[in-house]
C-alpha cells in the first residue's frame, strides 16, 4: 500500500474518533437538558401533569 494512504488512514481514524466522541458528548448534553427541562416543567405545573 502507498505510504501516503497510511498517513490518510491514521488521521481519518483520529479525526473520526475525536469527532464521534465530541458529537456523542453534545448529544448527551442536549438529551439530559431536555429531560431535565421536562421534569422541571411538570413539577412547576403539577395540574398539567395530573391531566
Amino acid at each position: 500500500m502507498e505510504d501516503i494512504v497510511y498517513l490518510a488512514a491514521a488521521y481519518a481514524a483520529m479525526i473520526g474518533l475525536i469527532g464521534w466522541f465530541t458529537w456523542q458528548l453534545l448529544d448527551r448534553l442536549a438529551d439530559v437538558k431536555a429531560r431535565l427541562h421536562a421534569v422541571e416543567e411538570s413539577l412547576s405545573n403539577p395540574n398539567d401533569s395530573e391531566e
Binding site: M1, D3, I4, Y6, L7, A9, A10, Y11, A13, M14, L17, I18, F21, T22, L25, L26, R28, L29, V32, K33, R35, L36, V39, E40, L43
Partner: protein, 224 residues
C-alpha cells in the same frame, strides 16, 4: 458555552499543527516520507492521555481518601477522555507500524503492550461505569482500578528507555544525539496545546452532563 468554545479552539489549534506537520516539518531521516507525519497527532495524543490518566488518579484518590463527590465525577470524566486519547494512540500507532515496520503490533515491545493495557483499562472503566449500579462498593473497585492505571503511566513512559525493542527511543529528554528536530518539536508542542484545550473543553461539557444527570436523578427521586 465555554466548553464548546474551548473544544472549537482546541480543534482549530490541533488542526493548524497537523497542516504544519504536512507542509512545514522537515522529513525525518530513516523513516518513510509520508507516514512518519502521523507523529504530529500521535505523540501529542499520547501526552494528553497521560494528563487524563493523571486526572483519573486524582479523582480516584479523592474518592478513596475523602469520599469526595467531585473526585467521583472527575474520575468518570477522566476515564472517558483517557479512552478517547488512548484510542487515538492505539489506532494511529499500528497504522504507522504497518507502514514502517511491516507489522502493526509487536507483542515483544513493552511500550506497545503497556500502553495497550492502559487503553484497555480505560475501556473497562467506561463500560463498567455505564453498566453497573452506582454503589459505594462499585466506586471503591472503580477507584482502585483508576489508581492502578496511573501506576502504569510511568512504566509506559520509561518502557522505551528500559526495554526498547521496536518503538522509537525517546526524543524529548532522551539521550544526547537522539534529540528531535526543533521544528518538529515546536509543531508537537502546538498540537499538544490544541489537544489539551480540546480536552479541557470536553471535560467541562462532560461535567455539565454529569451535573444535569445528578439533578435529574434527584428530581425523579423526589417525584417517586
Amino acid at each position: 458555552m465555554r466548553g464548546v468554545l474551548l473544544m472549537l479552539v482546541g480543534l482549530g489549534v490541533a488542526g493548524v499543527a497537523m497542516v504544519l506537520g504536512f507542509v512545514h516539518a522537515p522529513a525525518a531521516q530513516g523513516f518513510e516520507p509520508f507516514s512518519f507525519r502521523i507523529i504530529f497527532w500521535h505523540v501529542p495524543a499520547a501526552w494528553t492521555s497521560f494528563l487524563t490518566f493523571g486526572m483519573l488518579f486524582v479523582g480516584s484518590l479523592a474518592w478513596f481518601w475523602k469520599r469526595s463527590e467531585w473526585g467521583w465525577t472527575l474520575s468518570g470524566i477522566a476515564a472517558e477522555l483517557s479512552l478517547l486519547f488512548g484510542l487515538c494512540v492505539v489506532t494511529s500507532g499500528p497504522i504507522w507500524g504497518a507502514a514502517e515496520w511491516g507489522t502493526p503490533w509487536d507483542w515483544s515491545d513493552a511500550r506497545l503492550n503497556t500502553y495497550g493495557l492502559l487503553s484497555a483499562l480505560a475501556l473497562f472503566l467506561v463500560m463498567a461505569r455505564r453498566s453497573q449500579p452506582d454503589t459505594p462498593e462499585f466506586r471503591d473497585v472503580y477507584a482502585g482500578f483508576g489508581l492502578f492505571g496511573f501506576m502504569l503511566v510511568p512504566i509506559t513512559y520509561m518502557a522505551t528507555r528500559w526495554w526498547q525493542e521496536r518503538h522509537p527511543a525517546p526524543v524529548v529528554g532522551g539521550e544526547e544525539g537522539n534529540m528531535v528536530d526543533g521544528t518538529i518539536l515546536s509543531i508537537w508542542l502546538l498540537a499538544f496545546a490544541g489537544m489539551v484545550i480540546l480536552m479541557i473543553g470536553q471535560a467541562l461539557v462532560s461535567a455539565e452532563v454529569q451535573k444535569c444527570e445528578r439533578r435529574l436523578a434527584e428530581l425523579q427521586q423526589g417525584l417517586d
